[in-house]
Symmetry: C2
Subunit: 343 residues, 2 copies
């Protein structure tokens, strides 16, 4: 398999990207990489160039640029060229840690959507943090590709998430829940009430009902479906609060004198375990599901571990043919008929 890598995207590119790629290359003997970027910058950073090809590009899309405009104008940017390679079949998947909007735009307009999918959903794997259930992850989408989602988009997200959980997280018959403002069936605005009824009718789905934002990390579902707006707000609030709690503890220790510092040393394994559990680097990148190939975005601040993990995730996506299964499902008119609201 071949993975097209945007070597220039991310806060610590190209160094961190190349280190992560080399780690993954050594780990998975069946991956070849095509690195898109400034060859002069990239070349000297590579330790061993086996199964690595560099394709020189002359333009760069920066973090702040307006995405759609950028991918239309900068045809020789690493993002556009890497996406183009996937479109042309030179590569099987696209990886980047760059400008999120530009990656989404390149995914949608260059790689292209699966037939039957109206809007792809940005899909993250988040940790289950409930004591006793730790170490598991769950699938969360749309975590922010769309500011507005419609009923049929959300039903499609549910199926996309189901295939992903089954293949990549190896969860049989994944439990699918709807993010809503209450647990009961009649909760929510009209959109969420309608989606609830749609999901209940989908025979292929193991729909377990609504889930509230406060229970997100409790492990009550394997796939949490949401409109992009709400999922984005709940995810940011969750990440922000976890970070805030860690900051408060750190601040308390720093200002708590010798006693607190000694306490910290004794509790270090506990903090380490929590920090590890909550470390986004370990859960891979965000996948834009609904496209004809894996398009995966690592966080801009991704470290080497995060890059390696994200490539491992792409490796699993390609190996399990999760996208082919999704294409088959949405291409089958019978499924589309059964899904009612989908057509």
């Amino acid at each position: 398999m071949k993975i097209a890598v945007d070597a220039m995207g991310g806060d610590n590119a190209p160094q961190v990207i190349i280190n992560g790629v080399e780690n993954a290359r050594d780990q998975f003997k069946d991956i070849e990489f095509i690195l898109f970027g400034n060859e002069e910058q990239i070349s000297p950073l590579i330790k061993d160039n086996s199964r690595l090809t560099i394709v020189n590009t002359t333009e760069e899309i920066s973090m702040g640029e307006e995405p759609v405009r950028a991918i239309r104008r900068k045809k020789d940017s690493s993002i556009v060229r890497a996406a183009q390679a996937v479109k042309e079949g030179t590569a099987d998947a696209f990886f980047s840690a760059g400008n999120t909007g530009a990656i989404l735009a390149a995914g949608i307009f260059i790689v292209g959507r699966i037939k039957g999918i109206d809007r792809p959903g940005l899909t993250s794997v988040l940790p289950v943090a409930q004591p006793g259930k730790q170490g598991h992850g769950f699938v969360y989408l749309d975590s922010g590709a769309n500011a507005e989602s419609k009923e049929k988009n959300m039903v499609q997200f549910a199926h996309l998430g189901r295939f992903y959980a089954k293949n990549v997280l190896k969860i049989d018959n994944p439990r699918v829940a709807l993010l809503n403002n209450g647990a009961e069936e009649d909760k929510g605005d009209q959109l969420h009430k309608d989606v609830y009824q749609d999901l209940k009718e989908q025979q292929q789905l193991n729909f377990v009902g609504n889930i509230e934002a406060g229970d997100l990390l409790h492990g009550k579902a394997d796939v949490v479906v949401s409109d992009g707006w709400t999922a984005n707000a709940a995810l940011k609030a969750t990440e922000g609060s976890v970070r805030m709690m860690l900051t408060l503890i750190k601040d308390g220790i720093l200002n708590g004198g010798l006693r607190a510092k000694l306490g910290y040393l004794l509790l270090k394994p506990v903090f380490h375990k929590i920090g590890h559990l909550m470390n986004p680097s370990l859960y891979g990148g965000a996948v834009l599901l609904g496209l004809k190939a894996p398009v995966v975005k690592a966080h801009g601040s991704a470290d080497v571990t995060a890059v390696t993990k994200t490539i491992e995730q792409i490796h699993t996506m390609i190996n399990t043919k999760v996208i082919d299964q999704t294409v088959d499902f949405f291409g089958n008119e019978e499924n589309i008929d059964n899904k009612g609201k989908l057509d």
Copy 2:
């Protein structure tokens, strides 16, 4: 001043409610209380009945009941009777820890909206948790009275929040921000883009721009305005994550052997400080702003401290005449003209 208290609402009613009321009564010599509820149950729990009157009621609205139906049918419930007392002018404010929906419905349909306000907003005070800024609170609305909010509702929330922050939290010229999916001016769906422009135009508001859900507790604004749906999701995600972090730490200590327990003892002051900062009991109840009188809801699981704090908050609301100021503002045609989108 007289406060109408639903003595029967909440997980630990009537005991906790009565204890909180007696604390507040001893603290504030200018408050008289009217307790609505089952007299037989309430009477024996009262230690000292000075400035306390009991009004016997024969019905109860339970936590799970459909709110609007419940307040229409159960005319002799403690919630309906207490709200009625405010409407008739027998009491100046209404306090309950009962069924949230029923309190909102009683507030809207019995106490009534301020002229010019279309939808009241449920208003919480949340802690600023950023190290160095701790101990402050900020005003957050609509935290969930409305599943759907319109542009003009959100502009009204901004003004309601401003009066509240100024009078109750004593913040001069409070900074008002809009909860959105990005910090930049052009972020958000159409609703949030429109509200951004409206807020920018309001001369009475010190509008400081967008705030993201991940920065909620950072102290960047004194009033955070949001549609009810998003604010509810972000608030629940925040509360859930804070609780989850505390649970993870507790679990780590319990399962970390002697070393972890010793570490905990040494770090106890740090944890205690964080627990105190994040303790919702200390920030009072949720106020349904936009009504003709203070209608304030404590959490169902409120303890004595929370009840006392919430009554202190009502005391401040009445003393500062925050509602009269709001009535004046929305009743002044010049303000309504200036507010453009408000009419």
